[in-house]
């Protein structure tokens, strides 16, 4: 079955991104397809490469990056939500005249249409948020 996942809250502050990560791993282990993970609201903050969590804690961004690499996951950060919150890739930084970017490997920035498309194409859409 084809799943689409929405993550609506930022890492560490809420458990939402942890729950989504555990769910995606379990779905893949059962042979389901995870067509896309869409990061919205504060969820966009999961995709920053500048975080330095305590070493004895889980490394949320690195977990997602590794999972995406292993399973060729499509991790999409909403551009409108990301602009409000200061999450940029190089292309966006150039376009907005910003002198730095902070997106992590394995994530890409795209529009809200990707969320709707995910809902249309997936058999199930599940949101983890607050």
């Amino acid at each position: 079955m084809k799943f689409g996942i929405v993550v609506s809250e930022g890492p560490y502050t809420h458990q939402a991104s942890d729950s989504a990560y555990n769910f995606v791993k379990a779905a893949l282990a059962k042979g389901h397809e995870v067509a896309r993970v869409f990061f919205y609201h504060d969820g966009v903050n999961v995709g920053t490469r500048l975080s330095v969590p305590p070493q004895d804690d889980r490394q949320i961004q690195e977990q997602w990056t590794a999972l995406a690499k292993e399973h060729d996951l499509d991790l999409v950060i909403c551009i409108a939500a990301a602009q409000r919150r200061g999450l940029l890739d190089q292309n966006e930084a150039d376009r907005q005249g910003k002198d730095a970017n902070n997106i992590a490997e394995g994530f890409r920035i795209s529009g809200l249409g990707q969320l709707i498309e995910m809902g249309i194409q997936c058999d199930r859409t599940i949101t983890f948020g607050d």
């Binding site: 609201h41 809200l112 249409g113 809902g119 249309i120």
Partner: protein, 135 residues
């Protein structure tokens, strides 16, 4: 598009204290381009989103409430509002914005977009969807 799905956007939170109401509307506007069968649900504190007379100037916030009146232009015309949620909050339909759409199948007559339903009716609306997105 060959496949048309029923999308429901569920709004249960008050506006302004958190951004969910505003960013929900942004999804709805973008989603309108996809020609799906779209409905919005307003229950619990979500009914507060629709009140008229919102004036955010002194609070220094962006007033997004006029956007609800533009939904008809995006062919988003089914705004289900729960009666019990209104009652509990001391609200009546008169406290909400008058949100209308032009019915192109009826000589562009202006018709109300807000559909007041009971709690049981809201449960029926929810159970009749393909995709439910919550904010």
């Amino acid at each position: 598009m060959s496949e048309v799905k029923k999308f429901l956007y569920v709004n249960r939170k008050a506006p302004y204290g958190t951004i969910y109401a505003q960013e929900s509307l942004e999804v709805v506007l973008i989603g309108a381009a996809f020609d799906q069968d779209v409905s919005m649900a307003f229950l619990d504190d979500g009914v507060f989103q629709l009140t008229k007379g919102q004036d955010t100037k002194e609070a220094g916030l962006k007033n997004f409430s006029p956007t609800f009146r533009a939904l008809g232009d995006y062919e988003v015309t089914k705004l289900y509002v729960e009666q019990e949620s209104l009652d509990e909050r001391g609200l009546t339909l008169d406290d909400l914005q008058d949100i209308q759409y032009e019915d192109e199948d009826d000589d562009y007559a202006e018709k109300p977009s807000i559909i007041v339903v009971s709690r049981a009716g809201m449960a029926d609306v929810m159970a009749d969807q393909d995709v439910v997105l919550s904010f």
